[in-house]
Every structure is written in structure tokens, then in C-alpha cells.
Symmetry: D2
Subunit: 149 residues, 4 copies
């Protein structure tokens, strides 16, 4: 029925772009979008970005052996709220890799409306084991995150 | 940038269909989708359905005069949870008109995965004034809601 | 620091009562409380009610053996939205047992503001195994749910 | 029925403390608390803190004249996720004033479990007019935010 690819956004030369519509659930009584909603949108952007890289979060998570379970967890965020998004807007979540460490990846994310930045986030994520310990990124994972050039 | 039409779902002969991806935010620690998430999805389906009919909720709401403000409000719901949706699933919200009254519309909504029903809702919505009173649907509105035949 | 009992509401002769404050996150751009928020509040009421009965959901869930894991899942709901709750309101979630079956419990829940009903729900919950099958309620569980008389 | 004061947390010499229970809605399928949930908790802490100062956000917002409407908006946040909160935990939101500017206030917020920090945020909020412009804080407002000393 559904073309699943349409829901996953697209990759251009330097960034992943995921379009999202603003609904009732995203707003609050001030008439603007609720401030924590931007984090939900950025997380959707990261999930689709990671899917484009060929890393499926549910698969990482659902290993047969508990010892092999892995998942990405947010360690740090820096957030700038520039302009409010509004009900019925269509916004784009733009996600880029900024830096790769031993067990961490730093992403730059931006929420845009008609190419204008409404919100900026720098997000450090860590790969964790089921035992709650940071796990070194394999070379294959690092390669997936690295931009082509 | 973004083709906004792709986000609005599509209308077939008898129903509006909106595809949605399941993200972290939609799940809970049981591993399944949180039960209130289905209501957020149904509301997205209704918003896009109403948009397809040419009725924009923000426009109804943002009249110059407070006396002309109108908005749809949920009055009653009957919900059946059949099978759980899971992280990373793509589901369809299928929305049909069931009944039209003087100030109310009853919608049938279904959440499907690969055409299998996971959740069913019957939803009565009411058109309200800014003063909180039910408002009769105009003939134009009733016409918009009525299926072609 | 915190007296945890204060957060769990209280039991009177016939019902469990959980007071909740309305915050930004609960509202939407219409200025009223978002319709799915009432379900989150009812779920908090059910969780505290079940805790008062001596049944801890996390404990049911975190059995050593996967075969012994149990959790309550919502099967059906009937919802009536009577009057809107508003930002900064304090509301009460009032929860009563209505009926007990072999694997199901039907609860009556009401959201009240100053004892006036704003929202009513009839909620059928089912006890499930980790394999996704309904599980008979033990006599001890049934006894816990039954009102004194 | 309800003692509303119990829901508003309490002020000690240097900080406002709001206890909160973790529910299903706060968690995700990883089994931990969803990362955006911490922002909802911090916002509840700020709302109760501001209420303790005698500044009611709904009153600021609902002035008779649109020109007098004011509301606090988040401008910047720095977030550190230290340890995960879990279903059924009781956590404390601890809120302190760090700095006061002409139209801005910087708050330090911490989510603690049994006095151990799970999450830290530095939050810059701005007072805004209905026209979306920053508004100077009155001396009365600054006085309210300033710790006694």
C-alpha cells in the first residue's frame, strides 16, 4: 500500500532531510510548538538517518544474545530556539555528522521551515551495551557515518 | 524543498489513508506502542482528512473576529486494541465518514499494518464556537464530508 | 527527601483518587487540554491504583523467567469528553473496579475538577504473558481488585 | 478534595524541589525513560517554581489587552544525560536561579533520584510579548527570581 521510502526522508550530498507536518499534539496553549517537540522531531531525523546508513535500531537492539544488544543513547545536547514553528507548518529536520569518536558520534541537527532555521541542536550520541556500558564503534559503523568525501 | 502533498496521505474511493512510521516516542517500556499513541495517530489522520476536504483547521480557528472562530472537538470515542504496533513499523491510518448530524460527524478510523487491522476507533467530533457552544455544520461543510455517491 | 506516598493518591471507601496538575505539555494550540492527554492521566491513575492493591507493574514485568512475565494491556475503551480541562487546573483521576472476568478487569475512570466530571472512561484491561496471550487472573489478583464488601 | 499545595513541590534555602513519579508514558521500548521526557519534567519544575515566586503563567498570558500579554519562552538549553531514570522511579526536579539579565533568566535544573543526579540542564528563558518581542523584566520580577541573600 504504502511506499515506505517516502517516509524515510532523503540524503543529499551533505545531509539527511526529513520533512514533518506539525499537528495538534506538537503545540501547547501558547499557540506555538511545545519546546520538547523539537527533540522528538530530531530523534525521528536521527532514526531515519541511521536507517539510511543501513543501521536499523530495532535490529541492533533485538539480538538473540543479550550480550550483543546495542543501542544509541543521547549523552549531551546543546539547543538553540530561534523562531517558533506553528500548527500546520511543514518543517524539515536536517541532520549531519559533525564528529566521530571511539564510542560517540556528534550530530548537527537543524529544524527548518522553507530553508529558514527555527531550531539548532548539537547532539552527542553513544553506543551502549545492554549492560549500560559504552561500546567502541566498529570500523564498519564509523565508515557508515562518515560522509563520502 | 519538500513536497508537502506527500505528507498529507491520499484519498481513495471510500477512505483517506495516511502512512506513519513508528518512532521511539510512540513506544513504552513494555516494548510495544503506548496505548495513547494510537489517538495521536488518529488525530493526524483526521487533520489530513479534513485538509483534503478543503477545511483547514488553523483557518477555521484563526478568524479575525472571535465570534467566527470554529474548531472541531472530540466528544466521544470507542476504541478497540486488536494487535500491538511495534517500533520501526509503518502503519496506515484509514479514515471514513460514518454519519453526519446537525453539529456532529462520526468517523470510523482504523490503524492497519500491511492491511491488517491493529486498532479500531469510532470518533464523534463536534464543531464548536470560541464560546464553547456546538455550532450547526453549514451545508457546504456537510457536502465536503459526504462521500461522492 | 520526597515522601513517595504523597504521589500515589489515596483510596477511599469505593475509589482510588489521584490528583494531577495540568502543565504546558498537556495542552494544545486550541488553548484546551489535548484529547489524548486524558488517556495518559487515566493510565497514571490505573498505575497508582494497581500499586495500592499491592501489584507492582514493573515487578510483574521483570520476572527472572520470561515465561513468568505478565503485564496489563488495554483491550477496549469508551470515552466521553464532557468539559475541557485547562492549563494550571488541578484535576482528580477517580478509578473504580466495575467488573472482573477470567483474564480481564473493567474499570470506571473519571477526570474531575472540584468534583465535577470533565471526562469519563470505561476501560477493559487484560493480563498478558510475554508471549502475547491472555492469562487467567489468580484468585489473589481477583481478591485484590475486589472492593471490600 | 485535593490539597493543591502538595502538587507544587517545595522551596528550600537555595532551590525549588518537585517530586515526580515515572509512568509508562515517560518510557520507550529501550526500557529506559525517553530522552525528551526530561524536558517535560524540567518544564513542570519551572512552572511550579514560577508559581512559588507568585508569577502565574496563565495570568501573565491571559491579560485583557493583547498588548499586555507576556509569556516565558525557552531560548537556549544545555543538557547532560548522566544516568537513566526507570519506570516506577520517583525523581526530584531541582531548580535554581543562576543568572538574571535584562529580559532573560538562566536556571540550573537537575533531575535526581535519591539525591543522585541523573540529568542536568542549564536553561535560558526569555519574557516575550504577544508580538513575539523580548520584554524587559520589571524590578518586581527580578526581585521575585533573586534568592533571598
Amino acid at each position: 500500500m504504502t511506499n515506505k521510502d517516502d517516509l524515510s526522508g532523503k540524503m543529499d550530498a551533505s545531509a539527511h532531510i526529513l520533512p514533518i507536518r506539525v499537528y495538534y499534539e506538537d503545540t501547547d496553549f501558547s499557540g506555538l510548538v511545545y519546546h520538547a517537540t523539537y527533540l522528538r522531531w530530531c530523534e525521528r531525523g536521527r532514526t531515519e538517518f541511521v536507517r539510511h546508513l543501513g543501521l536499523n535500531q530495532k535490529e541492533l537492539y533485538e539480538q538473540d544474545s543479550l550480550q550483543d544488544q546495542r543501542f544509541f543513547v543521547v549523552r549531551k545536547m546543546q539547543l538553540d530556539y530561534l523562531k517558533p514553528a506553528l500548527m500546520d507548518d511543514v518543517i524539515d529536520v536536517v541532520t549531519k555528522v559533525k564528529e566521530i569518536g571511539a564510542a560517540t558520534v556528534v550530530l548537527s541537527q537543524e529544524i527548518q521551515r522553507d530553508s529558514e532555521a527555527l531550531f539548532r541542536a548539537e547532539v552527542m550520541i553513544v553506543l551502549m551495551s545492554a549492560q549500560g556500558r559504552p561500546v567502541r564503534l566498529s570500523d564498519a559503523m564509523k565508515g557508515a557515518f562518515l560522509p563520502e568525501g
